[in-house]
């Protein structure tokens, strides 16, 4: 058993994501806007969790803090046993490269690169051997059904195809946690459903944990659990899969654990 596998075994019982009393306040001059306030929940490993809420409810801020793109003003976040909030900038970049992957609403593809080059980019960041990289890119493009479009650039692909490329790119380094921020936000309903189906399939296939913010009822239906945010706070949701810890939950505010 390798050290990594041993570590995995040790962490098997721990949640993939643990959010504890996280707050995020943005300052705009003399004004302050609270994007997240005292949010706590856990996400067990291997689950697909939907993060829902209206625009401005704090979904993106929360995902950014979990993925290490942003630091919360207060609270603690642990991802795969690593306390993200305590990491340096360099280590957080490493976390994004090795452990966490993002899928953005706007796809986040580099316009000048072909589909294959975009998919291969994270592996270049890990300095993966060229042959391995090319093989993995081919597999991923096949996985998302875009082998025929490997040399096309984002501008030459449809929105759905672009998001599939983004998903393939997210999977490139075999992340433990996939964070998708409204991945169907710019897609029509049918395409969005197709993308969601793909997302669900690949998550299941890869055995990874996923945290997906969405307005899409379809995704909520297929998610293992749903976390709902309103005005930066976690609110109780009529959802059998959601189990709050209850100790600090008051009214509609919850501190919970996804099971």
């Amino acid at each position: 058993m390798s050290a990594e596998e041993r570590r995995d075994a040790e962490r098997a019982g721990e949640p993939m994501v643990s959010v504890e009393r996280v707050s995020r306040v943005f300052g705009y001059g003399s004004q302050q806007v609270t994007a997240l306030e005292d949010v706590s929940f856990d996400v067990p490993r291997g689950r697909l969790v939907a993060l829902v809420g209206r625009s401005g409810s704090g979904k993106t801020s929360l995902l950014n803090c979990i993925g290490g793109l942003d630091r919360p003003t207060a609270g603690r976040i642990t991802v795969d046993g690593v306390e993200v909030t305590a990491l340096s900038e360099r280590r957080r970049t490493g976390l994004r490269r090795d452990t966490v992957a993002f899928v953005f609403q706007t796809f986040g593809l580099v316009p000048m690169l072909s589909a294959a080059e975009n998919v291969g980019l994270p592996m270049r960041l890990k300095a993966t051997r060229t042959r391995d990289r090319e093989q993995r890119v081919a597999e991923l493009l096949d996985l998302v059904g875009l082998t025929q479009h490997r040399d096309q650039r984002p501008g030459e692909l449809s929105g759905g195809q672009q998001q599939r490329v983004a998903i393939a790119r997210a999977l490139a380094n075999e992340p433990r946690l996939l964070i998708a921020d409204e991945p169907t936000g710019q897609l029509d309903a049918d395409t969005g459903q197709a993308v969601m189906a793909l997302l669900r399939d690949v998550i299941a296939a890869q055995g990874m944990t996923a945290l997906v913010s969405t307005h899409d009822q379809g995704l909520m239906d297929i998610a293992d659990a749903t976390v709902r945010l309103a005005d930066g706070r976690l609110v109780a949701e009529d959802d059998a899969s959601f189990v709050g810890t209850g100790s600090r939950a008051t009214g509609s505010e919850h501190q919970g654990r996804v099971v």
Partner: protein, 1103 residues
């Protein structure tokens, strides 16, 4: 104008002030630089042209009208004044008058010496009264030489008569005695004796110049009194004052100069017999106008290059601004804004910016000119004056303002692309657009090729238009077109270059290099604009530096061609010995070689007709110097281009001196001469006799023995060698190698023509006997006592072979026949009546093959090759010569494309063998170190003129009319770097700014901050490497192709010697280093931005 648009524009400018400030900065910088160039050109016209004209020597400006009056002088002068005033128009000018009589005689003095009377304006300043005072009407002031030689005193009545002493002229009372201040100087040039006051060898009029008498003059009197005598010439001198004259007035003068002589002759009409107008004013003005055209050409060439760069910088900046506003525009369109509304908004903004640029830049240019003109060279050229802000400056900045408006508004005129089209275009450039661009490039290439071909055909952007150099703007645009075409071709190589780079980078494992290569190679529009800007800047900088170095080298080469030696000394007084003593100063480290530099006539017609003294042929320059003098021609560029062959071809060994050797310590020689003739009709024949002597070094000289009546009587002659020693400093022992005799009939029209024609052949015979060497025994201690000389007979070898060269005679006998030396020749009495007959008998064989080196253009014109014979006329003496070699060019004054070079010793021997007197050097080539020149120059006599090679090189470079060329080149080289720096920094900042989201996304997927910075840095490095490589290649190619065509000479023609391109590699390398520094600055700017990228914030806000 709709108020809402103005309000919106104002609001937008408040928000985007930084973006607009950058556009304003670039545009103002470009406009200021171009306006400074315009100001420089304008100031050159105003200050430098004025300075060049006011500093020009008076002899290059004055107009001298010389009239032989047939009416009272006042009438003649008034007529000339009218014509010249009309010529000068509103150009102020001074006037001076000089009237001079024909030669008169002083009948009461012994030997009936000659004299002349003059009135001269301003004479008080050039003479000093030593006794008495200046003359009033009816009086004369006499030179002190006349007073002392003839015993004339103040108050005496001085009688004058015609030269034959037959008709009396009015006598004048002597008011004073004067001495001449600085004889031989310019104010005396119109004087018959040029201020010498006494000429002991004044040719008696009507004697064919063979009877020489003492002459004195001028006898100064008033303008009115000079009219009492036969006035020979009225000289009027006009000197224009150019201190407040425009170049337009100079152009008008050049045009009117063509008609000046004709108009003056017409004005004088029958009041004057011979009217001669002498001036170099038209040439001087033409030179100034030509130089201005050359400077304008340089400034225009560099200005156009700068304009290309400025437009590129402006276009890039505004394109980046437009890119930056892309989302905003799209939003406005989405909210229903029409294209016209967007255009109106953009127009308001662009017009305001354009107006600010047009208003502010002239003032900044004025300040920049002030800084530039305070530099030493500019100040020396008279450019450090306030030029104000002339119209051209406003025009230039106005044009830049207009260009700014166009480049800002142009993107708004394009058809709006749909979202899909825009996305598709951003993904991959359209093929149609590529073809379109390719077509434009091709058209520009063809245009540049045509311009270059035209430039090559004309060899210069300055063309001669009616004798005046004129700038052809189309030809001057050639380099700018070539630059633009070259830069476009270069940037078209970017995709290929980056493709190769991409190929290499993609194969690697890492992300940094491929990301940079992809960005450069695939966002070619951005890369092209940045690389284009750098390419243009570096190429303009490299071209300017190479052009400057080439131009300077060309000035030095031209200086070397003008000065074969380190220094050239002319106008030394005295004979060869006196000149040599002054010029050759080993104590000051100066070694001088004598030079004969004269006009000559050369022809391939070897036979001469009767009476032809000079061959009819081409007017050329002949330059001759000694072996040491010719050796300097081997130096430098001149030597490298063929002049080094001259000393080899003209290496000359003098023949063994043969003749009558004088003892080592001889002070003179004596002989008895008996000239006789067979004619009984011509009874007044004179023979003028000269002895030819050769010294131990083989140098020839002549000594006048005087003119003798041909009466068959023995006449004793004595000649002392003292004057010869003083003149020529000869090396003893001396050998009399020959005698020159010239036979003249002074009968003129009085001879009986029928008797002459019936007489037929005429024998002239010269017998020389009793040759003796004279040695100074003693000089009695009495004033004016004659030295006592002791004569020692000289034996003349009866076997000595004599050779003859003759003119108008047939030498019959050179046999001594009882005499020590005898020459007998046959001519005709009729011929002798009209032309002197001359013959030379010489003990050294007449060579008849003077070796000459010809310039190749002259050889081509004459169609001669080395080994061919030609005939050359020097100082009226015709010589047979052999072409020893042909060289491309001969160093010396002016463009000497048609010249002949000879060995001075060989030429002197040939001249004396042909009957001419030994020549006095015209110049001295001096080998002296530059730092010794001031001391050397100070040691020369005041009349001497020295011009040094280094001084000329500096003068050529710092000529008021040329200094602007260097200033412009420095300005452009510096400006190129500044524009490149600003443009590149703007490009980098705006590009990074517009890629914020993309960079944040890269950060989100795991690209570290350091890696991101490395990506951006590497992009800049790639762009810089491409820009610097293309720029250096293009700039240097341009320097080699176009440099020789635009680095023209002062007259606008290709300079002599031909331009060799100089690339100052060290400075060019520095330019490359500066470009790297630009990258460093840009990266430092970007580093801050990259560090500040907050992926979460950026991804959330989308900006």
């Amino acid at each position: 104008m709709r108020p809402w648009r103005t309000r919106l524009a104002l609001r937008r400018s408040r928000v985007q002030w930084a973006l607009l400030a950058v556009v304003l900065l670039v545009a103002t910088l470009a406009a200021t630089l171009l306006a400074t160039l315009a100001l420089l050109a304008d100031a050159t016209e105003t200050f430098a042209a004025r300075s060049a004209l006011t500093d020009a020597p008076v002899e290059d400006l004055r107009v001298v009208v010389r009239v032989t009056p047939d009416a009272p002088s006042d009438e003649v002068a008034a007529a000339v004044d009218g014509a010249v005033d009309a010529f000068f128009g509103d150009v102020p000018h001074s006037r001076a008058e000089h009237r001079e009589t024909d030669l008169l005689s002083i009948p009461e003095a012994e030997g009936r010496p000659l004299a002349y009377v003059s009135s001269m304006d301003g004479v008080e300043e050039i003479v000093a009264i030593v006794e008495g005072g200046m003359p009033e009407d009816g009086q004369v002031a006499v030179p002190q030489e006349l007073a002392s030689d003839l015993g004339v005193r103040v108050g005496d009545e001085l009688a004058l008569a015609d030269v034959f002493g037959v008709d009396d002229e009015p006598a004048s009372r002597v008011s004073g005695v004067y001495s001449v201040l600085e004889p031989g100087t310019d104010p005396w040039r119109l004087d018959r004796f040029q201020g010498a006051a006494h000429n002991p060898a004044t040719p008696l009029p009507f004697s064919g110049g063979r009877i020489l008498l003492d002459g004195y003059g001028p006898l100064l009197t008033t303008a009115a009194s000079v009219e009492r005598y036969p006035v020979g010439t009225v000289n009027l001198e006009y000197v224009p004052d150019f201190s407040d004259v425009s170049i337009g007035q100079a152009h008008e003068l050049i045009e009117r100069a063509v008609e000046l002589e004709r108009a003056t002759i017409a004005a004088v009409g029958r009041s004057g017999g011979d009217v001669r107008v002498t001036t170099r004013l038209d040439a001087t003005l033409g030179g100034v106008v030509g130089s201005l055209a050359v400077t304008r050409s340089s400034v225009l060439v560099t200005g156009l290059l700068l304009l290309v760069l400025s437009v590129a910088a402006l276009a890039q900046t505004t394109r980046l601004m437009s890119e930056r506003r892309h989302a905003e525009q799209a939003l406005m369109v989405a909210r229903g804004a029409s294209g016209r509304q967007l255009l109106g908004l953009g127009l308001i903004e662009a017009t305001v910016l354009g107006a600010i640029v047009a208003a502010v830049s002239p003032v900044l240019a004025w300040l920049a000119y002030g800084a530039l003109s305070s530099r030493d060279a500019m100040a020396r050229a008279g450019m450090d004056q306030d030029p104000g802000i002339p119209g051209i400056t406003w025009a230039v900045t106005g044009i830049v303002g207009a260009i700014l408006v166009i480049v800002m508004v142009a993107p708004l005129l394009r058809r709006s692309a749909s979202f899909i089209e825009a996305e598709s275009a951003s993904a991959r450039p359209r093929r149609a657009a590529a073809f379109q661009r390719g077509g434009i490039d091709l058209a520009l290439l063809v245009l540049a090729g045509l311009a270059y071909w035209q430039l090559r055909s004309y060899e210069s952007p300055v063309i001669a238009d009616g004798g005046v150099a004129r700038l052809d703007p189309l030809l001057a645009a050639g380099p700018a077109l070539a630059l633009l075409a070259g830069a476009l071709v270069a940037v078209r190589l970017i995709p290929a270059a980056s493709k190769a780079l991409e190929g290499v980078a993609s194969r690697g494992r890492r992300a940094v290099m491929p990301l940079a290569a992809w960005e450069v190679g695939r966002r070619s529009a951005r890369a092209v604009s940045a690389v284009m800007l750098l390419t243009l800047a570096v190429s303009i900088g490299a071209f300017s530096l190479a052009y400057l170095a080439t131009w300077r080298q060309s000035q030095q080469d031209q200086a070397q061609y003008l000065h074969p030696a380190d220094a050239v000394v002319t106008s030394l007084p005295g004979g060869s010995a006196a000149q040599a003593a002054a010029a050759d100063r080993p104590d000051l480290g100066a070694a001088a070689s004598p030079v004969l530099d004269r006009d000559a006539v050369i022809s391939t017609q070897l036979e001469q007709g009767p009476g032809d003294e000079e061959p009819e042929g081409r007017d050329v320059a002949i330059v001759a110097s000694t072996d040491a003098g010719l050796a300097v021609l081997s130096e430098g560029r001149a030597g490298a281009e063929g002049a080094s062959r001259i000393p080899l071809a003209l290496d000359w060994t003098p023949p063994e001196p043969a003749g009558i050797e004088l003892p080592q310590d001889a002070d003179g020689f004596a002989m008895t001469v008996r000239p006789s003739t067979s004619t009984t009709v011509l009874t007044d024949i004179l023979v003028s006799l000269r002895a030819v002597l050769v010294d131990a070094d083989g140098r020839s000289s002549t000594i006048d023995l005087g003119a003798l009546p041909v009466d068959g009587e023995d006449q004793a002659l004595e000649a002392t060698l003292a004057p010869l020693d003083e003149l020529d400093d000869l090396a003893r022992p001396l050998t009399i190698t020959g005698f020159q005799s010239v036979w003249i009939s002074t009968a003129g029209d009085t001879a009986d023509a029928s008797a002459l024609s019936s007489e037929g052949a005429l024998t002239l015979r010269l017998s020389i006997d009793d040759l003796a060497a004279l040695e100074l025994v003693s000089v009695p201690p009495v004033v004016d006592a004659q030295p006592v000389l002791e004569a020692t007979p000289i034996d003349v070898d009866p076997a000595l072979t004599w050779y003859a060269s003759e003119n108008e005679v047939d030498v019959r006998s050179l046999q001594a026949d009882g005499d020590q030396v005898r020459i007998e020749m046959i001519t005709s009495a009729t011929a002798l009546r009209f032309r002197p007959a001359s013959a030379v008998q010489t003990a050294t064989p007449v060579a008849n093959d003077l070796p000459l080196v010809l310039t190749s253009s002259l050889a081509r014109r004459l169609t001669v090759d080395p080994g061919d014979q030609v005939r050359i006329g020097v100082d009226g003496t015709s010589l047979l010569a052999t072409v020893a070699d042909v060289v491309p060019l001969l160093p010396g004054d002016a463009p000497r494309q048609e010249a002949a070079v000879a060995n001075l010793d060989a030429l002197e021997l040939a001249l004396v063998q042909a009957g001419a007197a030994a020549a006095t050097p015209d110049a001295w080539w001096v080998d002296v170190a530059d730092d010794s020149i001031p001391a050397y120059e100070a040691s020369l006599p005041p009349q001497a003129e020295l011009s040094s090679r280094s001084g000329t090189a500096i003068a050529l470079q710092e000529d008021p009319l040329r200094v602007a060329t260097q200033a412009a080149l420095w300005l452009v080289a510096g400006a190129a770097v500044v524009l490149a720096a600003v443009g590149f920094a703007v490009h980098t900042v705006v590009t990074v700014r517009s890629r914020h989201v993309e960079l944040a996304q890269l950060r989100a997927v795991g690209l570290g901050r350091g890696e991101l910075l490395r990506v951006v840095t590497l992009e800049s490095v790639l762009l810089t490497v491409l820009g610097v490589c293309f720029g250096l290649g293009l700039g240097i190619a341009l320097a080699y192709l176009v440099g020789p065509l635009v680095a023209v000479g002062a007259d606008g023609r290709p300079p002599l010697p031909a331009v060799t391109v100089e690339v100052p590699w060290a400075t060019v390398a520095l330019l490359a280093v500066e470009a790297v520094a630009v990258v460093v600055v840009a990266v430092l700017l970007v580093a801050g931005m990259v560090r500040r990228i907050d992926p979460a914030q950026t991804l959330r806000t989308g900006d």
